[in-house]
C-alpha cells in the first residue's frame, strides 16, 4: 500500500519549490520551476510533478504547509503557512543536531538564521531593501554580461586574478563591471568578483555561530560560492542535500509536525510499513 505524504510548498519571488516527504521524513519527490506570474498555477504544476516523482496522487497528501512570497496563493492545497525563516529553521533543526548558522541566498532575500544547540531559533536577520548579495544581483549581471546564469559557476572556477567590486549597489556594481570590461579584465575574473561580492554582502550581515550551512537556489546552482564562502569565513561551510528545497522541506516537516500534534500521523503510522 502507499502511505500518505506531507507536502511543503515554497513559492519564492524567483522560483517555486515543492517537496514531498514521507512519514520517515525522507524526501520522496520534488520540483522547482520559475514562479512566473501565476503562482497558483506554477505551484499546482510543481505539486503534481513532485507527487508523481513520489508515486502518489493528491489524495495521498496527509498534510501540507506553504511558505515564501506567494504562500497565500496555494489555498487549493493548504491554507496553513509559515514564514521562510521558520521553515529554514525547521529544516536546519532536522538535519543538524548542533548550533548552526544558516545563510540562505534567495532570489530576492538573504537570510542569516541562528539556531542554538537545541535547535531553537536564537535570532535571524534579513537583508535590507537592497538586492546586493541576492540571486537578483547575479541574474541582473548575467543579463548585462550576456552569460547564462548556469554557466557562471564553471567560469568563476577558471579565474586566475579575481576582480574586486567595491559597491553595495547593484547599479553601481554594474558600472564597475563595465569599467573592468573596458580595462580588458577577463570574464572569469569578473564573474568570480561577482560571486565574491554576493558572499561578502551576506557574510557581513551578521556574526556566525556554530556550523555554517548555506541554502537557497544561488548556492544550489553555484556550489563554488560555498567553497569561496568557506575560504572567506576561514571555516568549512556545509552545503546540505537539497539546498534549494530547504524551505520547502522545512514546510513539509511542519506539516508532518502538525499531523503529529493532531494525532493524524499515529493513525497513518498504524497502517504503514514501507515509509
Amino acid at each position: 500500500m502507499t502511505t500518505p505524504v506531507f507536502v511543503g510548498l515554497d513559492i519564492g519571488s524567483s522560483r517555486t519549490k515543492v517537496a514531498v516527504i514521507g512519514a520517515d521524513r525522507g524526501v520522496l519527490g520534488h520540483a522547482v520551476r520559475k514562479s512566473g506570474t501565476d503562482f497558483t498555477a506554477t505551484a499546482a504544476t510543481c505539486l503534481d510533478e513532485s507527487l508523481e516523482m513520489a508515486g502518489r496522487g493528491r489524495g495521498g497528501i496527509a498534510g501540507a504547509m506553504s511558505t515564501g512570497y506567494g504562500r497565500a496563493n496555494v489555498a487549493f492545497v493548504t491554507t496553513q503557512s509559515r514564514t521562510e525563516i521558520g521553515c529554514l529553521s525547521r529544516f536546519g533543526r532536522e538535519r543538524f543536531h548542533e548550533a548552526i548558522t544558516i545563510i540562505d541566498i534567495g532570489g530576492q532575500d538573504n537570510k542569516v538564521i541562528k539556531l542554538d544547540g537545541e535547535g531553537r531559533r536564537a535570532s535571524f536577520k534579513m537583508n535590507r531593501k537592497c538586492a546586493a548579495g541576492t540571486g537578483a544581483f547575479l541574474e541582473e549581471m548575467s543579463l548585462r554580461l550576456d552569460i547564462p546564469i548556469e554557466a557562471m559557476d564553471a567560469l568563476a572556477r577558471e579565474s586566475t586574478e579575481m576582480v574586486k567590486l567595491g559597491s553595495y549597489c547593484t547599479v553601481f556594481s554594474a558600472t564597475e563591471v563595465l569599467e573592468n570590461i573596458r580595462h580588458g579584465k577577463k570574464v572569469p575574473d569578473i564573474v568570480k568578483g561577482l560571486f565574491y561580492s554576493v558572499i561578502k554582502r551576506v557574510i557581513e550581515m551578521d556574526s556566525h555561530d556554530g556550523q555554517v550551512v548555506m541554502t537557497g537556489g544561488v548556492v544550489a546552482h553555484n556550489p563554488y560560492i560555498v567553497e569561496m564562502a568557506g575560504e572567506m569565513a576561514g571555516r568549512p561551510v556545509v552545503l546540505p542535500e537539497f539546498p534549494q528545497l530547504a524551505g520547502a522541506i522545512g514546510a513539509a516537516l511542519y506539516a508532518l509536525d502538525e499531523a503529529d500534534s493532531s494525532g493524524i500521523r499515529n493513525n497513518i503510522s498504524a497502517g504503514e510499513n514501507d515509509g
Partner: protein, 415 residues
C-alpha cells in the same frame, strides 16, 4: 500561521470626542490666521509651546501636520517637490513632505476640516533642536519663504544625566526668546498665566502617562497604533484644559476595558515594544498584521515621549527647560538602554521591534549597537525593520510582514 484574515478592530469610543476637539483646534487656528485676531506661532513638537500659549499665540505644529500627510499617504507624492528644490530624499521625510505640500498648495486639513484651505500663516516660527537639526532647517525654509522670523533653542544632545548646567543653558535660551515673542504677540508675558499653562501641561502629560500605562494590564486595552492617534491632544493641546478633559474620558474607557477583561487584541499571546517612529502610512496594516498574529504592540518610546514629569508651575521656565531636556531623544544610549529595560519590565514585554526609519536617524536607535546590548542585558529578543515614517518608497511591505511574522513565530517557539 493563518493568513489574510479579516480583522475586526475595536473602536475606542472616546475617539469621537477627540475628533471633535481636534477639529475645534484646527478651526480656531485657521480663524486666528484668517482674521488676525490672534497671532500664530509654528512650534516644533517639543518646543516651548507653553510659552507660546501663555503669550496668547495660536500654535501650529508642523510635525503634526507632516504626520497627517503621512497617515493620509499623501506624503510620498509630495516629497519629490522638496527634493527638486534641493532637499535630499535622505533627510527628514516630515520636512520634505511638509515643504512639498506647501509648494504644491496641498494640505490634509482641507479634506478633514471643511472650510480650511491651507495651513495657518505664521507670525513666528519657533524650534527646539532637541528633536533634531532638521527642525531648524525646516523652519529656516519657511522663514525665508514667508518672511517671518525663525527663533529657537539649540539643545544639548546625547545627554547622560541632565545636569544644572544643561538646564541653565536651555533656561537662558528660553528666556532670550521672550522679548522677541512679546514684540510679535504685542503683550508682555504674564508669569501667572505661564505658571498656569505649565501646570496644565503637567496635568495633561500625567494623564497621558496613565492612559499609556493602562497597557500594563494583560490583555492590554490599547495598542501603540491607538496611541499614535490618541496622542494628538497631548501634542497640540498640551497647556489647555481641553486636553486634560479628553484624557480623563479616554482613561475612564480604558480602565473599564481592564475591568471587563477586554483587550485591544483578542487572544493576546505576545506583548511587543515598538522603538522608533510609526510608519504613518501603514498604521492600519501594521495594526491588523499584529492583531492577526495575536500579538499586541502595547508600549513605545514614541508615544511615551509626551510624558513630561518635570513641568512645575512653581518654576515654569526652568521646569520647561528640564522637561525638554529629559526627553528620550535628547539622551545618551546609556540612558536609552536603561529606559527601554525599564519599559520591558513595566509592560512585561516579550519582544522589541526597532523601526529603522531611513530618513530619521534621531529616532532610529538600532544603528549604534543598542538592540544587541539591550538583548544581552534582558534576554528579550529584538527585530529591526527597515522603513520610514513618511516616505513609502522606502518600505517593502512584504519584507516587513515576513520579518514580523518570523519574529512572532520565534517568540512563540521560545516559550
Amino acid at each position: 500561521m493563518a493568513e489574510e484574515k479579516k480583522t475586526i478592530r475595536k473602536k475606542i469610543q472616546a475617539a469621537d470626542t477627540m475628533n471633535r476637539i481636534m477639529a475645534d483646534y484646527f478651526h480656531e487656528l485657521n480663524d486666528a490666521a484668517a482674521t488676525g485676531k490672534r497671532k500664530v506661532a509654528w512650534c516644533t513638537s517639543v518646543g516651548p509651546a507653553e510659552l507660546l500659549q501663555a503669550l496668547g499665540f495660536a500654535v501650529h505644529f508642523p510635525e503634526n501636520h507632516a504626520a497627517m500627510l503621512g497617515a493620509t499617504r499623501m506624503s510620498t507624492d509630495l516629497i519629490p517637490a522638496a527634493n527638486a528644490i534641493g532637499y535630499s530624499p535622505d533627510i527628514c521625510s516630515y520636512l520634505t513632505a511638509d515643504i512639498g505640500a506647501y509648494l504644491k498648495g496641498i494640505t490634509p486639513l482641507a479634506k478633514a476640516y471643511p472650510g480650511i484651505q491651507s495651513v495657518p500663516k505664521p507670525d513666528v516660527l519657533v524650534y527646539n533642536t532637541n528633536q533634531c537639526r532638521d527642525v531648524q532647517d525646516w523652519m529656516a525654509w519657511y522663514s525665508k519663504k514667508l518672511g517671518v522670523p525663525s527663533i529657537g533653542i539649540t539643545s544639548p544632545k546625547n545627554v547622560n544625566d541632565v545636569t544644572d548646567a544643561h538646564i541653565d543653558d536651555v533656561t537662558r535660551q528660553i528666556e532670550a526668546l521672550i522679548p522677541t515673542l512679546e514684540g510679535i504677540a504685542g503683550v508682555k508675558l504674564d508669569m501667572d498665566r505661564l505658571r498656569e499653562t505649565v501646570d496644565l501641561s503637567r496635568e495633561c502629560t500625567e494623564l497621558w502617562r496613565q492612559v499609556l500605562e493602562t497597557a500594563k494590564a494583560a490583555p492590554a486595552p490599547l495598542t501603540f497604533f491607538d496611541g499614535t492617534i490618541h496622542m494628538g491632544p497631548a501634542v497640540v493641546l498640551r497647556g489647555t484644559q481641553r486636553a486634560i478633559d479628553y484624557y480623563k474620558i479616554l482613561l475612564a474607557e480604558l480602565e473599564q476595558r481592564i475591568r471587563d477583561g477586554v483587550g485591544a487584541v483578542d487572544g493576546e499571546s505576545s506583548r511587543i515594544y515598538w522603538e522608533g517612529m510609526p510608519v504613518w502610512g501603514r498604521l492600519r496594516q501594521h495594526s491588523e498584521l499584529f492583531a492577526n498574529l495575536k500579538s499586541t504592540v502595547l508600549a513605545s518610546t514614541y508615544c511615551s515621549s509626551w510624558i513630561f514629569p518635570a513641568f512645575d508651575g512653581n518654576d515654569p521656565i526652568r521646569s520647561m527647560a528640564k522637561a525638554y531636556l529629559e526627553l528620550f531623544i535628547v539622551r545618551s544610549d546609556r540612558y536609552k538602554e536603561k529606559y527601554i529595560q525599564g519599559m520591558i519590565e513595566k509592560f512585561r514585554i516579550d519582544g522589541i521591534i526597532y523601526h529603522d526609519a531611513k530618513t530619521c536617524p534621531y529616532n532610529s536607535n538600532s544603528r549604534y549597537g543598542l538592540p544587541g546590548r539591550v538583548e544581552a542585558e534582558t534576554g528579550i529578543p529584538s527585530l529591526v525593520i527597515s522603513g520610514d515614517l513618511n516616505d513609502l518608497r522606502l518600505i517593502s511591505d512584504e519584507q516587513t510582514k515576513t520579518n514580523i511574522e518570523a519574529f512572532i513565530e520565534q517568540i512563540a517557539e521560545g516559550r
